[in-house]
């Protein structure tokens, strides 16, 4: 009975993999020469030294399907019964490789000498893993909670409402909710709401200062997309549709993704393709909005941080979305002693927690191992504090630095900007 079930789920998985094979995938697999340079770009390999974490090898299930079914020689081999088949046991073995040891940071995609975008293929291979029932428990739980409650952590509006009241009390400002016709719909991430409530207060102050018309939506406040992390288009599309519906209801022109990496790539780059149509609004990461306010002279700041600060570029924001200069412009506004990590921007190293790794309890030891690359980078420039703009990165940096007894606080860039706003005249 269970063997029959496995056969059905395996076929579903293979079908999902077939659906993901496109011209880039075929060109990438046609070009791999097994040079192994992708391993040297991967924090999971670099910090464990285990060759099984070589990025291209993580794609073996997708490669086997491509070779057997989409190439002439592979079809001949299949007809003769000589082709290696993807089995349920193989997918089980590959599950930790595709989820626990890959944060989809795309550093390997930047380094591969033949130009393979490995991260693009990891994302696709995860579709087959979910369809065949081989996704980690932690991510299944997060995706189920996101669908059921709107938040991967099961957070509800009433929790956010308590925070809104708190922010309003301490700032003396109003947090706009369900304001039809506002310019910007602001999304948050649950992790931010729980771990970094200062973010909401910061944007409330900044937008008041700059005269930005914005709103939260009681229908949808969550920006993260557990469907993207686990690799399920159906779940991901449902979560994107909720944002689109909330934006349409409030007739906003723009949607702002918070200090979260994957939430931004999910809504900005994958979202329209998941729902099969363009948005009637534009999408920005909060850092893009802040830099735009800075460039147009709407951010008036005073004083600068004097300690030695460095910056962690979230992979999703920098390497995967081209936001590299914006955060440095903003740092220039408020920091006088800023030093970049040696490899930064599109070549920065992942914190180790992205791509669903942080929602996957089983991956804890690997997550900490991968962080050692970031730790080494931080030690090289010895900052007094680190600045970043992604709640997952920030949590990972805080936990990792603490684990290694490094006394380096981590701050969010948005709140640092808010701390330096010129006070408005009471008039």
């Amino acid at each position: 009975m269970s063997q029959e079930l496995n056969k059905v789920s395996l076929e579903r998985g293979l079908e999902a993999l077939r659906a993901e094979i496109d011209a880039p995938v075929a060109a990438f697999f046609s070009s791999c020469v097994r040079c192994g340079l992708c391993a040297t770009a991967c924090p999971f390999y670099v910090e464990t030294g285990d060759p099984k974490y070589t990025p291209i090898r993580k794609l073996e299930p997708l490669r086997l399907v491509w070779e057997a079914e989409y190439t002439l020689w592979g079809r001949i081999k299949s007809a003769l019964g000589l082709a290696q088949k993807v089995t349920d046991a193989m997918l089980e073995e590959w599950e930790p490789l595709l989820y626990d040891s890959c944060s989809m940071c795309a550093r390997c995609s930047m380094v591969c000498p033949v130009g393979n975008d490995l991260q693009y293929m990891i994302r696709k291979t995860r579709e087959g893993m979910v369809a065949s029932g081989h996704a980690p428990e932690g991510l299944i739980g997060a995706a189920a909670r996101a669908i059921r409650t709107g938040s991967p952590m099961g957070l509800q509006w009433k929790t956010l409402d308590v925070q809104i009241k708190h922010v309003e009390g301490s700032s003396g400002l109003t947090v706009p909710v369900d304001q039809v016709g506002a310019d910007y719909l602001v999304l948050l991430s649950s992790m931010e709401i729980i771990n970094f409530p200062e973010y909401l207060e910061a944007i409330t102050k900044i937008f008041d200062h700059a005269g930005v018309s914005w709103t939260l939506s009681t229908d949808c406040f969550e920006a993260t997309n557990a469907g993207i992390q686990i690799g399920s288009k159906d779940i991901a599309a449902e979560l994107v549709e909720r944002v689109v519906a909330a934006a349409a209801k409030l007739k906003v022109k723009n949607v702002i993704s918070p200090e979260c990496g994957h939430a931004y790539t999910a809504i900005r780059w994958e979202g329209p393709n998941l729902i099969g149509r363009s948005y009637p609004f534009r999408v920005f990461h909060i850092i893009e909005v802040l830099d735009e306010l800075r460039a147009s002279g709407r951010l008036k700041t005073e004083g600068k941080e004097t300690d030695r600060l460095s910056l962690h570029d979230p992979c999703n924001l920098a390497r995967k979305s081209g936001c590299i200069q914006e955060q440095r412009n903003l740092m220039g506004l408020v920091a006088e002693n800023f030093v970049d990590l040696k490899e930064h921007g599109r070549y920065q190293w992942c914190c180790g927690a992205g791509g669903g790794v942080s929602s996957n309890e089983r991956a804890e030891p690997l997550k900490l191992a991968a962080f050692k690359r970031k730790k080494a980078q931080i030690e090289e420039v010895a900052p007094e504090r680190m600045v970043t703009m992604c709640a997952t990165c920030r949590t990972q940096l805080e936990e990792g630095l603490e684990e290694f007894n490094m006394d380096i606080p981590v701050v969010g860039l948005t709140e640092m900007i808010a701390d330096h706003l010129v006070e408005k005249d009471p008039a």
Partner: protein, 220 residues
């Protein structure tokens, strides 16, 4: 065909035609297989363009980024040396140019024989080092398949037999030349069905990489 001259005539004649036909048709089939798959419409608002960044990456991926170079200098330098050596021996050896002229009708200036000879010797050594590295580097050995060793052999043999023929180290000469041409034919036949396709498809892969990132406003 039992005599060396007969063997040479066979490899230069029907065998060469067959090998060339399998190479051309096989490679054409692979390119069709790739492009027929196409790409889905992308509805996300672009931040940059695809074409320019795509072509830029086709060129820039030839060079390793400083971090990768520092971490794997041996890989990068060795790869460069034997790829360039292989191309010089293939394209700038005067008798090869004569062959291209007879097949394609195109010709170009070559390098003096002693220069090509020295470069070929370096290429032979480079390929031997590449094999040693594949066997000794934990990552390379782990991810290598039988195909990787087959492709190494079919790439190495034309260089080696060419070198031996040039120095008259195999006799009689028609046998030496015949063996050299035969190894090239094996290379051509194996080409479309193995990773040797990267000779063409790496440029397509790089273009897609540059285009995918370029659309999001990143230079890749």
């Amino acid at each position: 065909m039992s005599d060396p001259m007969g063997f040479l005539l066979w490899v230069k004649g029907p065998a060469f035609d067959w090998a060339l036909a399998i190479f051309a048709l096989g490679m054409f089939a692979r390119l069709v297989e790739i492009f027929m798959l196409g790409r889905q419409v992308n509805y996300a608002e672009p931040k940059g363009s695809e074409w320019g960044p795509g072509f830029k990456t086709v060129f820039t991926r030839t060079f390793a980024d400083p971090g990768t170079f520092a971490r794997s200098p041996f890989d990068v330098v060795l790869g460069w040396i034997w790829h360039i050596g292989f191309l010089v021996a293939l394209l700038l050896f005067i008798p090869h140019i004569e062959l291209f002229k007879s097949v394609l009708g195109l010709s170009w200036p070559g390098l003096p024989n002693p220069v090509v000879d020295a470069i070929t010797a370096i290429t032979v050594l480079g390929l031997l080092l590449a094999l040693w590295h594949r066997l000794s580097s934990p990552v390379k050995r782990f991810i290598s398949t039988p195909q990787d060793y087959l492709v190494w052999a079919v790439t190495f043999l034309p260089v080696l037999t060419g070198y031996l023929a040039y120095h008259r180290l195999i006799n009689p000469y028609p046998l030496a030349l015949g063996l050299h041409i035969l190894t090239v034919e094996v290379f051509l036949v194996v080409f479309p069905f193995t990773k040797l396709t990267h000779v063409f498809t790496a440029f397509i892969a790089r273009w897609y990489n540059g285009a995918i990132f370029g659309r999001k406003g990143i230079e890749s």
